[in-house]
């Protein structure tokens, strides 16, 4: 079980408030991702749930039990740190078995569980090494192993993959997702990488300056961003925005259209301009289009290989039903 409820939680460091009053419920078994720009308070929020950071006010409940005053060691949560935070003086075996030893579990049971965890993480050959003799990816597996052996009520991850190279990151991302499908345990995952957020989450919590901008499934956020910030933050390449005449025509202060929702047409499009830089990814081509009469450069995602080059004339047709409209406060209309 692991249903986590944050009730009017706030956090200040001295005079500066980094989390204004915040309410959030994470259901049992859910994979929740906190995402937002650097310094928005993701780690602080996670550490408050862990108990590593005191609340300035408000309450946190795990499975309907208020844990605000409960020390981290008694909350039954496991955490995986960005820096791995392995115990350098212990072997991998000792590291993974450490939380069990602290629970005073029998040595036979500890050995059994460590072996099982090591096997599922491909660490069997490294059990007698010290963390200093492992690669970054292996260290991260040990950190995960140390978290899973004890059947916590929830897992907390603070940017666990950000120290790994791109290829490894994709692999570990899948492994963690699979782990979640298998165990069905609550997981809270902090990242600033929106691709991780989109691919892993059941529920994404978008934060900015300590404020929740929107909570929803990845597709909710993609299809119905509630405000300009979320619209701009979720999706890659970024959504195109424009104000002025084009927006007014559609009854909005600002409109936004995702690069993949603009078609390149032979002629008679809504916006006609010149191709600037073209980024070829193979599967797609990102065209940056200037001189359309709009103040902003428009990014277009054209499927497959496109032969246009710098300076070519281009005609663009946005799919009207997929245009997002925002009012003067930046809130979604409709």
């Amino acid at each position: 079980m692991g249903r986590i409820v944050l009730d009017n939680v706030t956090k200040s460091f001295g005079e500066t408030q980094v989390i204004p009053p915040l309410n959030l419920t994470i259901e049992d078994g859910e994979f929740a991702v906190f995402v937002g720009p650097s310094g928005c308070g993701k780690s602080t929020l996670l550490r408050m749930i862990a108990g590593l950071e005191d609340l300035t006010s408000g309450n946190i409940a795990i499975d309907d039990k208020v844990v605000t005053e409960v020390p981290p060691s008694k909350r039954g949560l496991a955490m995986v740190f960005q820096s791995y935070a392995l115990y350098p003086h212990m072997t991998v075996r000792k590291n993974i078995g450490f939380p069990l030893r602290m629970e005073k579990m029998s040595q036979a049971e500890i050995d059994k569980r460590v072996e099982t965890a090591a096997k599922s993480l491909n660490l069997t050959d490294y059990l007698d090494r010290k963390p200093g003799q492992l690669s970054g990816g292996q260290r991260q597996r040990v950190a995960i192993g140390r978290a899973i052996v004890r059947d916590p009520s929830a897992f907390l991850f603070d940017e666990p993959l950000s120290n790994l190279d791109a290829a490894l990151r994709v692999g570990m991302r899948l492994e963690i997702s699979e782990m979640h499908e298998r165990m069905q345990t609550t997981m809270i995952y902090v990242t600033h990488d929106q691709v991780e957020a989109m691919t892993m989450a059941d529920k994404i919590v978008v934060l900015q300056a300590g404020v929740i901008e929107q909570v929803g499934t990845p597709l909710d956020l993609y299809n119905k961003p509630q405000n300009l910030f979320v619209a701009g933050f979720i999706g890659s390449p970024r959504m195109n925005f424009t104000e002025g005449e084009e927006a007014r025509k559609r009854g909005a202060h600002t409109i936004g259209i995702r690069p993949e929702h603009i078609d390149v047409v032979a002629s008679g499009g809504v916006w006609n301009g010149k191709v600037g830089v073209a980024e070829h990814l193979g599967s797609d081509t990102f065209l940056h289009v200037h001189d359309t009469g709009l103040a902003e450069t428009i990014t277009v995602r054209a499927p497959g290989e496109v032969t246009m080059k710098y300076g070519d004339r281009i005609s663009l047709a946005p799919r009207e039903d997929l245009i997002h409209r925002f009012d003067a406060q930046g809130l979604r209309i409709g």
Partner: protein, 277 residues
Amino acid sequence: MAIVAQSSRFGTYGRPVLAWAIGLLFFFPIFWMVLTSFKTDADAVKPEFLFTFTPTLENYLNMTANYDYWRFATNSVITSVFATLFSLVVGIPAAYAMAFNPSRATKDVLMWMLSTKMLPAAAVLYPMTFLTKSLGLFDTHFLVVLVLCLINLPIVVWMLFTYFKEIPKDIIEAGKMDGVNTWGEIREILIPLAWGGIASTALLAFIFCWNEAYWTVRLTTTDAATLSKLIEGNRAPEGLFFGRLSAVSTAAVGPIVVLGWFCQKQLVKGLTFGAVK
């Protein structure tokens, strides 16, 4: 280029010569002391016998016969060991708290502890003497241990604090998440990780305890008197007997020099606060 060549020539020749010169300068008084300890009191003051003399063990034999060297030595060992242990028992949790759960006052507390070392000891000599006498603690092992422990605590806490600061906070926090309580953190994580630093600190504290003379001389007479007191006692009453004094001094500093010799590496590491890796 010229500067590089010059400094490297200084490095190959100048530096060793300089190092030896300084080394000898510092070593000479000790060497002289050891030499003198094998001379009769009469020979000791005659310049012509500086290096050439008939060695004698008389001073050492007298020492164990007349002054009960072993009692003083035992007292030194007991008081130094216990004072070091106690200062660690108090210092480790204190430094741990300041390194990992600092409050607004932490920096001030550290400064305040250091500032106690700035008060001249003589300023509290009379209060201390009266207090200890009226409490019946004068000339007891307990008192010496207590005083040595208190004298060393500031430096012990400072050194430990500096070592503990080098341990990543994440590791301690990982421990908390893994279900460890405060004592567990200290026992399972902090002490194993800072073992080298703790050993250096203990060694230095032990040496300071052993060498302490101001208080041990003044707050003891016989029962709890340490080797410092023995040296001191050989100085005054019957005039200056250099041979005898040198023997006593040699026997007093001997153990600590040997200890220091064997723990050189650890000591250097300790004194440079881990800067030498």
